[in-house]
């Protein structure tokens, strides 16, 4: 089997990053099509693997593919209409600190535009540094800082309203 190593390489990427791909997809798209989008991301990773050089790390590349798949989906589907209500997914979320806060954050995120949401998710939820976020999104560091500042401000305002209600 001359291509076994390619499959092994792909399997390794899946094992290492499938949870991350799922988390990012979920936080960017709202959850309605997570399974399908995760599959789509890995399909693109499979197709792109032969062309993937060493220009960036595998992690950065996998993040980039995942974000692109999610943004493509958002262009086709408005996220607010497809958010899964908290009650329907409760049994999957034992790790939550406060379920109502999770839901509030998810809904507040959905109000952000894709650029701000992606930056917030990658930096605060995925713990990527500002430089790493810039690498994934292929934008300058200053742009990431600006998006984080504005996005955080919008998120705070939205959360204050929701939690106050």
């Amino acid at each position: 089997m001359p291509f076994t190593s390619d499959k092994e390489r792909f399997d390794k990427i899946y094992t290492e990053y499938h949870r991350m791909v799922r988390n990012v997809t979920y936080n960017l798209t709202g959850g309605a099509a997570v399974d399908d989008l995760v599959q789509e991301s890995f399909l693109r990773i499979w197709k792109g693997l032969p062309r993937f050089g060493s220009r960036s790390s595998v992690k950065t590349w996998v993040y980039r593919v995942t974000v692109n798949v999610a943004i493509d989906y958002l262009r086709r589907t408005p996220v607010l209409g497809t958010l899964i209500p908290w009650e329907e997914t409760r049994d999957h979320r034992e790790a939550y600190t406060k379920p109502e806060h999770q839901e509030a954050i998810q809904l507040a995120l959905a109000k952000l535009d894709a650029e701000h949401r992606t930056t917030i998710v990658l930096h605060y939820f995925e713990d990527l540094s500002i430089e790493e976020v810039a690498g994934v999104l292929e934008v300058p560091v200053g742009t990431v800082k600006s998006r984080l500042h504005n996005g955080r401000h919008k998120l705070e305002e939205s959360l204050k309203e929701r939690i106050r209600d």
Binding site: D35, Q39, W46, P50, Q102, L109, Y124, F125
Partner: protein
């Protein structure tokens, strides 16, 4: 306040839960459906083949140059060269003749 908010976000980040158990198989099924279950010839391999072809062509050309005994002449060039030679020969004979005649 900002640090508290960052901490709040990190602690309460929404998580989608576990992936379906058959997710890996589902992905392979999708890959199989595209028909691209093997990687196509890789760009690196193409680059290698192209480089090898260039090296071969250059090598073959250099061999051909080495094999050539000299510049091939056209019929006209051969003719003019032989005429020149005969002329030179004539010159020599003339000179010899004139030398002999003077000597005599």
């Amino acid at each position: 306040v900002t640090d508290l908010f960052k901490d709040f976000l990190k602690k309460n980040r929404p998580l989608p839960g576990e992936a379906p158990k058959d997710e890996r198989q589902a992905i392979w099924a999708r890959i199989a459906a595209t028909g691209e279950t093997h990687f196509p010839t890789r760009p690196l391999l193409w680059k290698f083949i192209a480089a090898a072809a260039v090296v071969l062509v250059v090598f073959a050309l250099s061999l051909r140059t080495l094999d050539l005994p000299g510049e091939e002449l056209t019929n006209e060039e051969v003719l003019s060269e032989s005429l020149l030679l005969s002329f030179l020969d004539d010159d020599d004979s003339d000179e010899l003749y004139s030398f002999n005649s003077v000597a005599n």
